[in-house]
């Protein structure tokens, strides 16, 4: 490429305050008590985790919250080895879609609790349909990361 003259460092730092809404508030409050809450569409019967304010399929308001299983199966996964700016997670970590028992959609979260440094070892241990269970952090923030990860059973 041509001559590189110079670059000019400039950082944009902007604070945002997002309204959490009543549904995520209820979900977060549940996490503080080590409960995973979902809710069910009264029209199609699907159970969603995290709970939704309206059914994405039927466009109707959702019913009451229900506590769902803390166990489920791995649907798909990846082992992340590289960090990027602003990520709250330090690699290596496994991001996975997890289908909790009785739920109608997959939950995006982490799989962990064992040595992640070796790809071959991870491949042998983690597969589709592998059973996992939620492991909680002792300190709760009222956030999805209150679940430390899902550990293979």
């Amino acid at each position: 490429m041509g001559k590189h003259f110079s670059t000019f460092r400039h950082d944009v730092w902007l604070p945002y305050k997002f309204a959490v809404g009543q549904v995520f508030k209820a979900f977060y409050d549940g996490l503080k008590e080590e409960k995973i809450l979902g809710n069910q569409c009264q029209s199609c019967g699907k159970i969603f985790v995290p709970p939704r304010s309206f059914c994405p399929d039927c466009n109707v308001d959702m019913g009451d919250y229900t506590e769902v299983s803390q166990e489920g199966e791995i649907v798909t996964w990846t082992l992340a080895k590289e960090a990027f700016f602003g990520s709250p997670l330090d690699p290596p970590f496994i991001t996975a879609l997890i289908r909790l028992d009785g739920v109608s959609c997959d939950l995006l979260h982490l799989v962990g609790g064992f040595d992640l440094s070796d790809v071959t070892g991870v491949r042998q241990r983690i597969k589709k349909n592998r059973r996992v269970r939620a492991v909680w952090n002792d300190e709760k923030q009222g956030h999805l990361l209150d679940i430390k990860y899902f550990e293979p059973l």
């Binding site: 001559k3 944009v12 994405p56 798909t76 082992l79 080895k81 991001t95 959609c105 997959d106 995006l108």
Partner: protein, 388 residues
């Protein structure tokens, strides 16, 4: 379909690390190239469509204001469109709609990115809200790695076979790029280089993943009357498709990916294509990751579901194969992301207009261009033909 529309000019910058110019100068370079290609001047343009990645990538909000002069858009109607990786296809379809509607005769469509000035993966994470999905996104490679794993498991494709097919795509495209004067990464790789590469997000290794590029692409769309008058070999728009998924990642299947399948159905229907493998001469599939190209072969009906690895290893989609895919080297070698899908359109237009130079597919009459984006939410497609 509205009025007939054709592409009558296309321009690209040299893509790569472009610290030699400011962002507006990079935009101008692509725009001037399109004017030169079409032998037009800014006075001939009725309206301008422009787009990039979301503003958090650019570091400057509302870049169409910043680039108004470079785009020669002052005093003209102007629109901005952004759909992340699909941006270039959304731009092309917007320009096409504008001319097809009869409200404009000649429209300049420009997509641009200067990825080395920002942080692409950090930007990508801001496409997701912070309540739920954002913390877990291991960048775009993470999302599409999970898709690759699902694909192999769904169809019982042995991991080594998937790896080999993805490896062949990487080796072939990095070689193909030598014949593309605009391409960013050109490299002679061995299969071992690819399969032993550093793991980024398993199963993706370094050479499975597109680069960060700086670059601009500009395409000029014209009505039938103007195209016939101004251009010896117009590339006619035969069909377009665009489809989006729900927001919630994990709510739907992305292997037999309805959004991609329906996009192709829409475009094929308009273009009258029933057997894409036979009727298409070349395809520019949006391939930011090797495995993603394989999955789209299946979604677009180039082969049966679960058979993309086999067909790839047989050479069906190689330069001399039945349906050459990404002879430009594709996204895998060149990725100025706001321009990338528009580059697919420009490359497809170059193929049917016989202007693709060293990577020309001889006698190409029908070409497919594809865009993919919104993390993994959108698919878009445009089919171009050498005759009306």
């Amino acid at each position: 379909m509205g009025r007939a529309v054709a592409i009558i000019g296309m321009g690209q910058t040299k893509h790569g690390r472009r610290y030699d110019v400011t962002y507006p100068d990079l935009v101008r370079e692509g725009v001037q190239a399109a004017f030169e290609d079409a032998s037009l001047t800014p006075a001939d343009i009725d309206g301008v469509v422009f787009g990039t990645m979301p503003s958090m990538m650019e570091g400057v909000a509302m870049t169409h204001f910043y680039f108004a002069d470079a785009l020669r858009a002052v005093g003209k109607p102007m629109m901005k469109t952004e759909t992340c990786g699909t941006t270039g296809m959304s731009l092309a379809i917007t320009g096409y709609y504008w001319v097809a509607s009869g409200l404009a005769d000649i429209v300049l469509v420009v997509g641009s990115e200067k990825m080395h000035e920002g942080d692409s993966q950090a930007t990508m994470s801001t496409v997701l809200e912070p309540f739920y999905l954002r913390p877990f996104l291991a960048g775009a490679p993470g999302v599409f790695s999970m898709l690759a794993q699902s694909w192999m498991e769904r169809y019982d494709i042995p991991e080594d076979k998937g790896r080999e097919a993805a490896g062949k795509i990487s080796v072939d495209h990095h070689k193909d790029a030598f014949d593309n004067p605009y391409a960013h990464i050109k490299k002679d790789l061995s299969m071992e280089d690819v399969t032993n590469g550093k793991v980024i997000t398993y199963p993706y290794r370094l050479w499975d993943i597109c680069p960060n590029s700086d670059g601009t692409c500009a395409v000029i769309f014209a009505s039938e009357e103007k195209a016939k008058k101004l251009c010896a070999r117009p590339a006619w728009v035969k069909g377009v498709g665009f489809c989006g998924d729900e927001y919630w990642y994990g709510d739907s299947d992305k292997v037999a990916w309805e959004c991609a399948i329906d996009t192709a159905k829409q475009a094929y229907k308009q273009a009258g294509i029933t057997n894409p493998l036979k009727e298409l001469d070349v395809a520019e599939v949006y391939n930011p990751f090797t495995y993603v190209e394989l999955i789209h072969y299946e979604c677009f009906g180039f082969c049966e579901p679960g058979k993309a690895a086999e067909a790839t290893l047989k050479g069906t989609f190689s330069r001399g194969g039945e349906l050459p895919c990404d002879p430009s080297g594709g996204v895998l070698c060149t990725n100025p992301i706001g321009a990338t899908a528009l580059v697919r359109v420009a490359e497809a237009a170059m193929q049917v207009a016989g202007k693709a130079g060293d990577h020309q597919i001889d006698g190409a009459k029908t070409a497919l261009a594809h865009g993919l984006g919104g993390v993994s939410q959108f698919n878009g497609m445009m089919i171009l033909g050498s005759s009306l």
